[in-house]
Symmetry: C2
Subunit: 308 residues, 2 copies
């Protein structure tokens, strides 16, 4: 049963998965971590804007997780509590943190997730449709009346099994974010410029193609912006990097309140930096002791690394 909660107005809301993760790396074996796309994305966004969360957890979801998540100042009134098990996921990284093997995926209450937008989120101008089933992305987007700038993240699974639904929701979004392999899969092209041209024809005015450690490309009708990844020195856990990236990107836009060539580029720099912090710890651990001064310092560093 969904619980009713007091709900505050937000600048930005996001929908995505909420999970309990087990993550193995060469040096660590961590179990029962707060995971899923939504905690990473909202935590990264919370450094910039008041962020609302739309997701679902089961009756086994620890109250401690909720408390830690809320400590970022994130609104959780869109998080439904259902009887049953929270989404569980486990993975193992190879020694160099490049290849990932999924060891377990148990959808639990996420299998029957019907996202519901809290009343207080309906006027919010910025929306991130995190990586969930495209029909659900459309379902929750339709509940918004104030959405001015909608970004959508997706993955190979939905391109494989739900492409018609994905194409339908793509017509209603302003920005699509996906990785290079997914861009090629969805567009049927290889050259990333041709991919982006094909993807923009599907609806979005902007396409961000993420290349992990190699950075990202932002395509629009006006041109191309290339932003490197901030080169991380102490990589602990890459899980959630793409979600933190997307979350910080939208958080930054929501903070400045307008979308143009300049703010989009600034947003990508901020996204690159937030993602670089996120992978320095498991789950939200690095974000929990991240300061605005640390963010500002790394942004200055990244700008220096990019400036000719």
């Amino acid at each position: 049963m969904a619980k009713s909660k007091a709900s505050a107005s937000v600048d930005l809301w996001m929908v995505g998965s909420i999970g309990i993760d087990d993550v193995q790396t060469r040096e660590n074996d961590r179990k029962g971590l707060l995971g899923g796309s939504l905690p990473f994305a909202t935590a990264a966004a919370s450094f910039f804007a008041k962020t609302g969360s739309v997701g679902v957890v089961g009756s086994d979801f620890p109250t401690a997780f909720e408390a830690r998540w809320k400590a970022f100042g994130i609104d959780l009134s869109g998080v439904q509590h259902q009887d049953g098990a929270t989404f569980r996921w486990a993975c193992r990284y190879d020694g160099n943190m490049i290849e990932r093997t999924t060891l377990k995926t148990e959808l639990g209450v996420f299998a029957d997730f019907k996202p519901m937008l809290p009343e207080a989120y309906r006027q919010a101008p910025f929306v991130l449709l995190g990586n969930i089933q495209p029909d659900l992305q459309l379902h929750v987007l339709k509940q918004s009346v104030g959405a001015k700038f909608v970004a959508l993240d997706t993955m190979n699974l939905w391109i494989d099994i739900a492409k018609p639904a994905l194409l339908k929701v793509l017509k209603r979004v302003h920005l699509l974010t996906l990785n290079d392999g997914e861009a090629r899969q969805l567009s049927g092209k290889w050259n990333l410029r041709e991919c982006a041209d094909a993807l923009m024809k599907m609806g979005p005015s902007y396409v961000i193609i993420k290349k992990g450690e190699h950075g990202a490309l932002l395509f629009s009708k006006k041109g191309l912006f290339i932003v490197p990844a901030y080169p991380v020195e102490s990589l602990k856990d890459p899980t959630g990097a793409g979600d933190s990236y997307a979350g910080a990107f939208m958080g930054y836009l929501a903070k400045v309140g307008k979308v143009n060539d300049k703010t989009l580029r600034e947003a990508l720099i901020n996204a690159s930096v937030l993602a670089s912090f996120g992978v320095e710890g498991f789950s939200l651990e690095r974000f929990e002791h991240l300061t605005q001064a640390q963010i500002a310092k790394r942004i200055r560093e990244l700008r220096r690394m990019m400036s000719v």
Copy 2:
């Protein structure tokens, strides 16, 4: 027998391989192309500075190749003509031009190559030791008296079979350029920042780690500069891209005549642009009708793509 030739003073000289290549791509099957690291590197450099060439060809080397190469204004007085066969190399690219299969490597006269520096090159301040056996790189470097800034390119083969010789010549060079896999192999580290720190301890003050389509990283004691690859729209043949990159980089430095943080960064932008043109044709074909205006236009474009 080495022929004696008139020789002009140069700003920059390079040593490397000269070959006759066969290249297969999905769309083309080209045989008997002018190839090897030296023609690509010198051709790219020729857009910036007077460049000398040190290499060897066999008696089967077409005079037409020599004429086309010379047409760039490149000095060829360091190219020895030996009795025997020119170095021959053949490869096939996969459909996406990512994976390359070497089909043939016949060293010919390159097997007994002893590079000799023409008198007129000895005072040249800029030197690129292209990817040849490290003992030969050292041998030819010792013939220079005026070298002020020496860059060295290498490959996995020499790290495998001639590491002691490579470490010896590295002590005498200012800049090392290699790809990410080679950087990891030579340093024994994975994280590219740690790789660069380890490589700089081997001698060079600067390390360029090339990541192909993902751009390059320039490391120095003063910091890190990240330069994207210019995103190519019509990739015809990736052969020689790294050589064109290194050649244009050194050509630009030789043109401005000084090495500092600013000129190194400018040199990398120019290198990225020249490499992007080079892969738009087979062999030196794209360079043969490349104009300074086209270079300048693409440099402006790349700067715009990088600017926040």
